[in-house]
């Protein structure tokens, strides 16, 4: 794995050479013929890109635009063919001495708060855990390959299955977690983890961390394996404590990879749906933005209102991602082109 990454890094520099001059190797060809050839290549390139662009435009771009538009209408599932434009009424409207709409709905704000809470705790805990696991797997020990394969298991299990599995393990009467914790005297009586409002958000974070730590660990491990070995040799010769080496040398060097891994996880955590939907169904204590929006759209059949909620979620994901990219000065051209 490490060698292939390094190999790809190496060719990165090779790819910088401009496209045209390399044909000069076949000397004697007329310039006109060359540019004709490259124009033809570019035409073919666009032809090759067309299916992807059509797919993305019609099945991702168009639905997004429709969602944004429908958010400004009073569409419901029953009047889907004859709705009318209502401006910002789904978002906020003042009527008869009361404020109505999404921004005036305390449940909406609760879902925003829950989403941010889960995202913040889940992503930070799994980043720390992921780095720890990666450090363990980076050391050489017998059976390392096996352990590395084993930690992929939580990642591969469908979210629905892991939600059911944990729902069962956290069961208030028969669950093994209560049994385990009581045997270890961590708790004195069974707790209804997924029902009790005090524990339920933490429970969701814990299950999410279990499922997503492997991803963080593997990405961090890959970054660790690309580090130069000589600075560690130097540090060891100088007798610097390993923990100090980690914070002064390792962490700064793997930071770019961590930053990217965190972006991917942030995007995922902000749109969390399956886990919350299965583990706690329609509980208001744990409602998150995706669950709120889908409930409005499908269960209450209020297409307009639900679309408005979806649009706000999209804007939030978009805004927070931009903010994060700017804050960490992440380079997203990523293509190895510059």
């Amino acid at each position: 794995m490490d060698t292939s990454s390094i190999g790809a890094q190496g060719t990165k520099t090779a790819a910088k050479a401009p496209a045209l001059p390399r044909l000069d190797a076949s000397a004697g060809r007329a310039k006109a013929e060359q540019s004709g050839l490259s124009r033809q290549r570019i035409r073919t390139a666009w032809l090759f890109l067309t299916p992807m662009m059509i797919g993305l435009a019609f099945v991702a771009g168009w639905p997004l635009l429709r969602t944004i538009y429908l958010g400004f209408t009073d569409a419901t599932l029953s009047n889907i063919d004859s709705y009318s434009f209502v401006g910002f009424e789904n978002y906020l409207v003042y009527d008869n001495g009361h404020w109505y709409g999404l921004l005036a709905d305390s449940l909406w704000w609760k879902s925003v708060w829950n989403t941010l809470y889960i995202t913040l705790f889940s992503v930070s805990i799994e980043t720390v855990l992921g780095v720890l696991v990666a450090l363990i797997l980076h050391a050489k020990f017998p059976g390392r390959g096996l352990v590395r394969a084993a930690i992929l298991i939580p990642w591969a299990i469908p979210t629905v299955v892991s939600a059911k599995m944990w729902g069962w393990m956290l069961h208030d009467q028969f669950g093994v977690i209560n049994d385990l914790f009581m045997t270890l005297h961590i708790i004195s009586e069974p707790i209804a983890w997924t029902v009790n409002p005090d524990t339920v958000l933490g429970t969701i974070v814990a299950v999410d961390v279990w499922k997503t730590t492997p991803f963080m660990a593997l990405l961090t491990l890959a970054a660790l394996q690309m580090l130069p070995k000589d600075c560690y040799e130097a540090a060891r010769v100088d007798g610097i404590h390993p923990i100090r080496v980690f914070f002064k040398v390792t962490l700064p060097l793997i930071k770019p990879a961590l930053v990217v891994a965190v972006v991917f996880r942030l995007l995922d955590a902000l749109r969390i749906f399956d886990l919350v939907y299965i583990l706690t169904s329609n509980s208001e204590d744990t409602i998150v933005m995706s669950v709120y929006a889908r409930q409005a759209l499908i269960d209450f059949q209020q297409i307009g209102y639900g679309s408005a909620a979806s649009t706000l979620l999209f804007l939030m994901v978009f805004g927070l991602t931009l903010l994060y990219i700017f804050a960490t000065r992440l380079k997203l051209d990523g293509s190895g082109d510059h």
Partner: protein, 276 residues
């Protein structure tokens, strides 16, 4: 003194590895044990019997076999179509210099950050318009498009890594881009295709929100939705044995894939992210 320190270090490390293994494997072990009757009576952590009653009941009481076929069909179709589109697109993005290329790559990446629910109402409309509501076609269409961004992203990264000489020689010999892809790139590229295909497969096999929204009837459902809908005699108590049996059935193929192709999957994940 020094050896003692070394030994405690080793012991602590072994303990950490053990804890890690327990943490990752224990929940799945409990699922397997429960499908054989654990969690009832005295057997809290260990199976109570070793017959297949829970497995049989899953297949008897709902169209679970159908659900598995649906999931397989949708996942394979998604992988095939999205790989075909992604290979040609990423060849263009990785190998041809044209204006707007970086912008296009960024747009592709942007699509991968769409929350599913943000396209749900628009997609619902589109699917009804195309007459795909309550058919597997709706899932193949949506999964294909939503797996395209990372497929294109990973394949573009891999294709940049292929040496130029091969392609140049082919161009001089007058090979068309399609010939270059099929004759020259494919043999070098197949490990990347396996990786990308696996990730797309796992994504399609596990997807839940579109599957529960666009499919109405039991026989057309995919396995994640089928599992979420298993219910018992009482509204409040799930039949945990069958639920865990179903979970084990749909998870074992995935775990097998992951264990066999471990290296490939890690390569794909890192190519998609670390180099970003």
């Amino acid at each position: 003194m020094k050896t003692l320190k070394l030994l405690t270090g080793r012991a602590l490390f072994a303990l950490a590895v053990l804890a890690l293994l327990l943490y990752t494997i224990f929940p799945f072990y409990i699922a397997v044990a429960t499908s054989f009757g654990a969690g009832t009576g005295e057997h809290v952590y260990t199976p109570a019997y070793f017959d297949l009653r829970n497995y049989l009941s899953v297949f008897k009481e709902q169209p679970f076999f159908h659900n598995i076929l649906n999931s397989a069909l949708v996942s394979f179709a998604t992988v095939a179509i999205s790989l075909l589109i992604a290979v040609t697109a990423s060849y263009a993005l990785a190998r041809v210099h044209f204006r707007g290329r970086t912008l296009l790559l960024l747009t592709v990446l942007g699509v991968s950050m769409f929350p599913q629910v943000a396209v749900l109402s628009g997609m619902f409309e589109l699917i009804r318009m195309l007459g795909l509501y309550n058919s597997l076609g709706s899932l193949i269409l949506s999964y294909t498009v939503f797996s395209l961004p990372f497929s294109v992203w990973i394949l573009t990264t891999f294709m940049r890594g292929i040496p130029k000489d091969l392609e140049e020689a082919a161009i001089v010999d007058g090979a068309t881009p399609w010939q270059i892809i099929t004759r020259i790139f494919m043999p070098v590229l197949w490990p990347a295709l396996v990786t990308t295909g696996l990730l797309a497969f796992i994504g399609a096999w596990n997807e839940f929100m579109f599957a529960i929204t666009f499919i109405l009837s039991n026989e057309n459902r995919t396995v994640p939705v089928a599992i979420s809908m298993i219910s018992g005699d009482s509204q409040y108590e799930l039949p945990w044995g069958p639920v865990m049996a179903a979970s084990v059935v749909v998870t074992v193929p995935l775990i097998a894939l992951v264990l066999i192709f471990q290296r490939k999957i890690v390569e794909g994940l890192t190519a998609g992210a670390v180099k970003g």
